[in-house]
């Protein structure tokens, strides 16, 4: 049979590609290279790694499959996407666990060498899917990648069999580069930097990458070639950034702008550890990090550093936030600046460490003993983790109360183009520091507008004072058991947080200012919700508005007024309904609906659109 097909150039707006294989197959690297190269070409991109909690799960097993999804486009890309246009499966287990995500009629590339009897059994296939017609609804491209990789490397000296087999992911990448007209140049430069001292590895990877590229070009086995033009993006200097890196950089920027030294006290926890890994690199900026003995020491060392005058932060995920609860109450009581980052994951208990969820909101709001309100804000995209980390630092320094910054595994591990924002473009950060002796200083004297207390740090002569977790006299800060004082202080701490409303922007709506339905979201679901409402808007539903909240406590001042402009309001959350609980407690007379998903996965575009249409019908 002649498998040759005329090569047609198909121009697409966007394409979604998923690379899957064993957790040791290098799928994360393959995906990252493809997205970086595409971004440099000028595409908008969004990525989503999906990997098992086990570091090296048994080879070939279903639960050991590691994947990396890339969404690239000539149009605005707001999510890594749902169903894929191209699946690259390096083994049967990868095919089995990801087949349901491939759009019918679309392309699957497989490494036929890996479809051995043993691997088929490990993937629980009763018959070989490449032979039993079960893939007839897809365009399957069968490539003996392992053999071709070996062939390409037969003349390269100094490589063992393992190293040879391991580079087959570059064969796959080379093929995909050719299919989407991407240059191999960036990846070759990457090899040269990464393996500077190992010329054999550079040579091998480059050879295999090129072999894959030329294989796709010359054998004409590829049914279609695709072109994706550069996206219309704002002019400027960009880089691809992961959410956790952006969070870390936001704090670096805030430290530089405020002229303060940054201190991080932290205990490793998935998926937050990358923030620690990033900040520990930056000792050249004077960043101090302490990998503490536990979560509690992470936050309490940060409280100590804050007391001594640093910009102090701690980073964690849900279980760690639970452990930090008591100390967070102390920071609130002694009214010191502190940012706690909660990179949310699936809960409860140990839950789903590598999967995403938004189920810590109520813990963030209320998870402490006593009346202990905090400022709570949430980032919503990998890139704006930078802005909200910066904002968290600004708010805590200006308002002298802890700030909880919520992100989640989805945006923390996802990456996207970031139009680099220099510190020079960022808003000023004030702080409440008293730099020198002040007659009659009392630690609990406050700014009359923000109610933030003035901050004297050790080393400042004449301002010696004591703070602590016991209730404080409203002026002197001395221990006070006076009943009226306790009530007064409880109200003042709450009022201080509430007044943050006067310093944050009004909530905006997208697509419609008023209408039949307002879609409400917060945190990492921004991309999914935004693209669903956008699609419906393009389909003619001009009566749907979208409000994505970044300020969760306090809520923006205009929230109530905004809700009144819509007949129905649907809260979409990756939990059983937490933000909606807060709204129900605060605003009455609205028709509040909810749409929830608790599968450790982001919302899919179709399920959102269906839900919104159903509400409107």
């Amino acid at each position: 049979m002649d498998t040759k097909v005329d090569i047609q150039e198909e121009i697409l707006e966007a394409v979604i590609i998923r690379f899957v294989g064993d957790s040791g197959d290098g799928m994360q690297l393959t995906g990252t290279q493809f997205s970086d190269t595409s971004a440099m070409f000028g595409n908008d991109v969004a990525t989503f790694p999906n990997y098992p909690a086990e570091i090296r799960a048994p080879q070939g097993s279903l639960y050991g499959v590691s994947g990396y999804q890339v969404h690239i486009g000539s149009v605005e890309i707001s999510t890594p996407g749902d169903e894929v246009d191209l699946l690259v499966a390096m083994n049967p287990a990868g095919l089995k666990t990801n087949l349901h995500s491939v759009k019918p009629g679309h392309t699957i590339i497989v490494d036929t060498d890996s479809f051995s009897k043993k691997n088929l059994e490990k993937a629980l296939y009763e018959s070989n899917p490449l032979e039993d017609n079960s893939l007839e609804n897809y365009r399957v491209i069968e490539v003996a990648m392992t053999s071709l990789t070996k062939e390409a490397l037969k003349d390269v000296q100094g490589l063992d069999n393992k190293a040879i087999t391991r580079s087959k992911n570059m064969f796959a990448l080379g093929m995909v580069y050719w299919m989407y007209h991407r240059s191999t140049e960036h990846t070759i430069e990457f090899f040269q930097k990464k393996f500077k001292t190992k010329p054999a590895i550079i040579e091998a990877n480059t050879k295999v990458l090129n072999a894959g590229y030329y294989f796709a070009e010359t054998l004409e086995l590829i049914p279609n070639a695709y072109t994706i033009s550069p996206a219309k993006m704002e002019e400027g200097t960009y880089r691809i950034i992961m959410g956790n890196t952006a969070t870390a950089w936001g704090f670096l920027a805030a430290a530089e702008k405020s002229g303060m030294e940054l201190f991080l006290g932290s205990y490793p926890i998935t998926p937050a550890s990358d923030i620690l890994h990033e900040l520990v690199k930056h000792k050249h900026f004077g960043v101090k990090t302490l990998q503490a003995e536990d979560e509690i020491a992470g936050i309490t060392s940060a409280i100590g550093a804050s007391f001594a005058g640093d910009l102090a932060i701690t980073t964690t995920s849900g279980p760690g936030l639970a452990l930090k609860g008591e100390a967070l109450g102390l920071a609130m009581m002694i009214e010191l600046p502190l940012v706690v980052v909660d990179v949310q994951r699936g809960g409860p208990s140990t839950g789903l460490p590598t999967k995403t969820e938004q189920s810590d909101l109520l813990q963030a709001m209320y998870g402490r003993n006593g009346e202990s309100p905090l400022i709570v804000i949430a980032a919503s995209t990998p890139a704006n983790c930078y802005n909200y980390a910066y904002e968290a630092a600004k708010l805590t320094l200006e308002h002298m109360t802890p700030v909880l910054l919520m992100t989640d595994g989805y945006i923390a591990n996802g990456s996207a183009p970031w139009k680099i924002q220099s510190v020079n473009e960022m808003p000023d950060i004030k702080n409440m520091r008293l730099k020198e002796f002040k007659e009659n200083y009392h630690p609990y004297e406050r700014d009359k507008d923000s109610l933030a207390r003035y901050w004297a740090v050790p080393g400042t002569p004449g301002l010696e004072h004591r703070v602590g977790g016991l209730e404080k006299d409203k002026v002197t800060g001395n221990v006070s058991y006076v009943p009226e004082n306790h009530e007064y202080m409880t109200h003042i701490r709450a009022e201080k947080v509430k007044r943050v409303q006067n310093f944050i922007p009004d909530q905006e709506t997208e697509f419609a200012d008023s209408g039949d339905l307002l879609v409400v979201g917060w945190g990492g679901t921004y991309g999914s919700l935004h693209s669903a409402v956008k699609h419906l808007n393009e389909e003619g539903y001009t009566n749907i508005g979208f409000a994505h909240f970044h300020y969760l406590n306090p809520l923006p001042k205009n929230t109530e007024e905004l809700l009144k402009r819509f007949k129905k309001i649907v809260f979409c959350e990756l939990n059983t309904g937490q933000l909606i609980k807060i709204f129900k407690a605060n605003f009455t007379g609205h028709e509040f609906l909810q749409f929830n998903k608790i599968q450790g996965l982001p919302f899919a575009n179709n399920e959102l659109k269906e839900k919104f249409k159903q509400i409107l019908s």
Partner: protein
């Protein structure tokens, strides 16, 4: 330039707050001894910080006219670590008790000793929970009857010193709660020592555990039951200065000078500065005599010194001075309008 060191008396370190411990508590002795030590350490009081956890002893910072924080239960050592790392110029003192440091704060306690930041830790060991009104603590004795062990305690105690040395403490001192002069000296030495200095005070609780150290600390028996060690001096004790320690096999033995041919020159000389903690551990374990004074004072590299050296090295090798240098480095690309 650093400001000149001011002259103080102990009164300069007393805050305006009324001290609220029970009458007769050794905590008063410790407070006054600290206030007497501070004028001697050559640090201006704006550079002194007291951090405590929870418990009777942990009210201490409120009574000191320095910077201070009354933290949460067990976490004073971790809070103090943050203070010291943020500003290594500060003289940082941790106030903790036996429950605060070895029960709820046990993890932070061993790790702070392991890291060896330049901190002073004063451990008020009264072998009982005072503030919660009389439960046994991790240093209470087996059989001890308390509110939570009415038939006698069944949990064997920690020895603070053994635990500390096991966690690599480089400085450990022990002092009776009723010997303010020696206590003041030990506090001055602990501040002068660079590294984590742990001082255990055998502190009598007159309400819930009165007399728990009486057999070592009562004036009448003190000289015969306590050995106050000093670096470089023979380990001699007793009213008549006739008892001493010698090493016999793997044990320390008490001998009497002048008996069985023992001479003063046979008595072991105390070497607090020795790196090997074996002898220090043996001294810590003794019950007769109860060894007080500075048992171990081995000078090691501090955590801040290691961090500083690393930071200087990274700074010297890095081209990054401002965040812009980082943000615009590596794989950036231009989008043209």
């Amino acid at each position: 330039m650093e400001a000149a060191v001011k002259e103080y008396t102990y009164k300069d370190f007393a805050s305006d707050q009324e001290v609220r411990w029970c009458p007769g508590c050794d905590d008063y002795v410790i407070l006054r001894s600290v206030q007497k030590a501070l004028p001697e350490i050559g640090v201006n009081k704006e550079n002194i910080v007291f951090i405590s956890g929870i418990g009777c002893s942990s009210r201490f910072p409120y009574y000191m006219d320095t910077y201070g924080m009354h933290g949460i239960h067990g976490r004073a050592t971790a809070i103090a670590s943050g203070v010291k790392l943020a500003n290594p110029k500060l003289s940082v003192w941790v106030i903790t008790g036996d429950g605060d440091s070895m029960a709820i704060g046990g993890n932070h306690f061993i790790h702070v000793l392991r890291r060896n930041l330049d901190l002073n830790i004063i451990l008020f060991n009264n072998e009982i929970y005072g503030l919660t009104k009389g439960q046994f603590s991790p240093t209470s004795l087996v059989g001890q009857k308390t509110k939570s062990s009415p038939y006698g305690n069944t949990q064997p105690p920690f020895s603070a010193g053994e635990l500390a040395l096991g966690a690599q403490a480089r400085f450990f001192a022990r002092i009776g709660g009723n010997t303010p002069k020696e206590m003041t000296e030990v506090f001055i030495a602990s501040e002068k020592y660079k590294g984590t200095a742990l001082v255990e005070v055998l502190q009598n609780c007159p309400i819930f555990n009165d007399g728990c150290y009486a057999k070592y600390t009562d004036k009448a028996v003190r000289e015969d039951r306590q050995l106050f060690v000093e670096h470089g001096q023979p380990m001699i004790f007793g009213k008549n200065k006739d008892k001493g320690l010698i090493l016999k096999g793997l044990r320390l033995e008490v001998v009497t000078i002048g008996e069985n041919g023992v001479e003063e020159s046979d008595i072991l000389i105390h070497d607090a500065k020795e790196q090997d903690p074996t002898l220090h551990q043996m001294l810590v374990r003794m019950e007769y005599p109860m060894v007080t004074g500075i048992i171990r004072s081995f000078q090691d590299v501090t955590f801040e010194e290691r961090e500083d050296a690393l930071t200087s090295q990274v700074k010297a090798n890095s081209a990054f001075r401002k965040t812009d240098d980082l943000f615009f480095s590596g794989d950036t690309y231009e989008i043209k309008g």
